[in-house]
Amino acid sequence: MKESTRMLVPEEEKCIGCRACTSACPEKLITFSEEGNMRSISFPANCGTGCELCELCELCALACPENAISFIFPEGESENVEKQTLDFELVSCQKCGTPFATIRELEKVRTAISEKVPLPPKGDFWVELCPGCRQEVFRERQAEALIRERTV
């Protein structure tokens, strides 16, 4: 049994569902799955306290861009927490329809960009496209003038 009794607590209000924690965890204890337009991130039950594998390295918390993960001492008796799963709705690419990012991720990106480069709130805006389609659109736009020239 480990000495510490701290446990991992994700904050649902803060988490944007980016999955940085899933790749940060050396034991791969934090997992994610995607189905349809939903993404779920699962933190094991009693991560930290009561979790045999968690070394309390806190790499997940360090990786989290939103500081949404904290390791705290549970109040009172170490209660038996069920597996904690957070669900996120995904945004579909406006061009190909593939769900590619959570609403919150895109909001975060949009806000961060707007602070630097004021952009229109909605509409014909690359953030609405998945990376693959962005590349395709960018490619097509670059080719446009050349194609016009070559069709004449």
């Binding site: 480069v117 004021p118 229109p120 690359w126 960018f138 736009r141 670059q142 446009e144 003038a145 016009r148």
Partner: protein
Amino acid sequence: MKEVMVRPERCMGCRSCEIACAVEHSESKDLFAAVMEKPTPQKRIYVEYVPEYNAAIPMTCRHCEEAPCTTVCPTKALKQDEITRVVTHNSDLCIGCWTCSMVCNYGVIGRQKEARVAVKCNLCPNRDIPACVEACPTNALVFIEVKKLAGVKRTEAALKLARGMQGKAL
């Protein structure tokens, strides 16, 4: 719509257009004050010297139809007015990806060093005649509608011809 038309055969390479352009796009709009300004005011017209022909050609934005620079700009920092066809650049939106510069067929999109953003001709919105045209001593630059330029050229050609005939008659 009027455009800055270039008549390369008249250009002496004096670069008055370049200076006038930079001054027009300065804070003070005064040559002597502009020199001292920081960031240094930047020209948007370029007089290209062609060594092979020992000649100079002023190059400036053609405000192309369906301008490639506006098509590729991801942030819409470059925009084209649907009616006047004038391509303007909003430096607040520019992320310095330089795709515009890459696709421009005339190489007339420059870089503003301090802000690291694109710089290009906006046809001097506050003036009746763009500064470069006004400054040109030889009328190598004219601000005119394309179809009218043909008329001007016709008149000139006719004049030349008439002079020639006169010369012969004498």
